[in-house]
Subunit: 313 residues, 2 copies
């Protein structure tokens, strides 16, 4: 008998929102409390094929399973009609080291935990009555962040700001089909919403700090490498509260680190985003709050383990 | 459709000796010529379960595929009636990054490439007429090293030296069943053979340097971590030729490094074992030669790729 492989269909069936949200919430809290293990990743480069491969592992202390996630990106593939990304998640028992399953997830595990983490933290940091959302970006994470946040609180309006008018219109139509009132918007308009979420691969700020209104919350999802940048340092300077999903990672790879290096804020001014899920954040009605999320690898282990359990594997 | 998984049965069927030997020979030569890529491995520790997990990747330049090998060792498992080791090998295209297959090999890929590499190098370094083999150790690698060497040259006698008389007798019986004249022997007798191969997890020398005869060749397979040791520094001092499968790795993790640190030999006195497969080594009839092999991870990629091709996957 060979190792069981779970495909996307089985994983999607197992990934009910309640399971994903509860698992990601618990994992974010564990990470904020220092109960996660994330070893330095393994990297390979294939310059001739414009490709790379990253292997990341993670474990939440006490958890049944740990994961080893293999993710490749070969950037000429789209010209060949093939997906840019490939990989898989190997789930191993943290008690016996036995391989429990291979998740042939096409990157969805990462997409789901990113969406759930973003939605949970955005919801926790936004004013209770905030209902108008501005989203930057029109890709998979834009779609997921809106949908998952809409599961946590009512959204009366979604303003979609994208570089491509066609893609922005398509996302609005898709959101409309899911019961959300969405329309394309310019950057200033979208940045003026009650809640702002950025999900782009931008390398320069997508909004002006002054366009964000008092009382608003802004979550940055896209910047996860030093050369990427979505939120301007001046926005961090305006913020009453800055939360990071992983202090070191956000300092080295995120918008928070860029704001620190620009001298806008002190490098110890942030709080752990996961801690905000445990107790209600105190905020004034006119404060601006910012969350910088770069992705917590240890969440993969928790979510993979929960999906395996839900799939009855 | 999910990623194809090849089990041990399919891999064993594909692992015909000619395929394995040709592939490992070419890969050892590539490694000697610096045409392999091996990034620093990823490690995780699970102290409460006495477990660890290592992830190693490798690629031979120009090769179709690269591999990511996940290997766990949980040292309380045998008490639970479970295998100590688990893991898998993920094979990805080096042209497109797509996952080609998962090899659910239970560690056999590593065992085979270690056996083939040892046999090829032992054969290349031994005198043409050497036919009496002394083997230290009675485990899987002892069995494999003898069998694979016997495919490359006739062996008139195999002397088996093991700490357990029962296991030594069992190995002799097994070898006898495969047409080899094998008998248990003490360390001095086994060390006096024409060819000596050590395959133990020993942490102190298993033989005396003086017991090795002029004209003999010795290959050390077992010492692959700094605390392990099979061959005494004095044997390296007696050697006319010292070959290492990976200079840096043998210097830091092998018996060669121990001999260097003991002041027995200079740290640049070794030659690349793989280079000996390309051209016949010159040796005097009375010289002692030594090979220190710690395992070349890039061989996994070459062998996995060849087995996938042979299996028609």
């Amino acid at each position: 008998m060979t190792v069981p492989v779970l495909g996307l269909e089985e994983l999607e069936a197992a990934a009910r929102p309640r399971v994903v949200l509860d698992t990601v919430r618990a994992a974010l809290i564990a990470h904020a409390e220092g109960r996660t293990t994330v070893p330095p990743p393994l990297h390979m480069e294939f310059p001739e094929a414009e490709g790379d491969c990253h292997v990341k592992a993670g474990w939440i202390a006490g958890g049944d399973d740990f994961t080893v996630k293999i993710a490749s990106g070969f950037y000429r593939n789209s010209a060949l009609g093939m997906p840019t990304n490939s990989g898989l998640v190997c789930v191993l028992s943290a008690r016996t080291g036995q391989v429990r399953a291979v998740l042939d997830d096409r990157g969805w595990l990462t997409a789901w935990r990113t969406a759930a983490a973003g939605a949970l933290i955005t919801h926790a940091m936004s004013r209770p009555e905030a209902a108008m959302l501005g989203v930057f970006g029109t890709g998979e994470q834009a779609r997921l962040q809106v949908r998952w946040l809409a599961m946590l609180r009512p959204l009366t309006k979604v303003l979609v700001c994208g570089r491509s008018e066609r893609k922005a219109a398509a996302l609005c139509e898709w959101l409309g089909g899911h019961g959300l009132d969405a329309e394309p918007a310019g950057a200033e308009e979208a940045a003026g919403a009650d809640i702002v979420v950025t999900t782009t691969p931008a390398t320069a700020p997508v909004l002006e700090a002054d366009a964000v209104r008092p009382g608003a919350h802004v979550t940055g999802i896209g910047a996860d490498m030093p050369h990427k940048n979505e939120l301007p340092p001046a926005l961090f300077r305006r913020a009453e509260t800055i939360a990071t999903d992983d202090h070191d990672q956000c300092l080295h790879h995120g918008d928070f680190g860029r704001a620190v290096r620009a001298g806008a804020v002190a490098q110890d001014c942030d709080i752990a985003a996961g801690a905000l899920l445990l107790r209600q954040m105190q905020r004034s009605a006119t404060a601006i709050t910012v969350a910088d999320l770069t992705g917590v690898g240890a969440l993969d282990a928790a979510l993979a383990s929960a999906l395996l359990r839900a799939a009855g594997a």
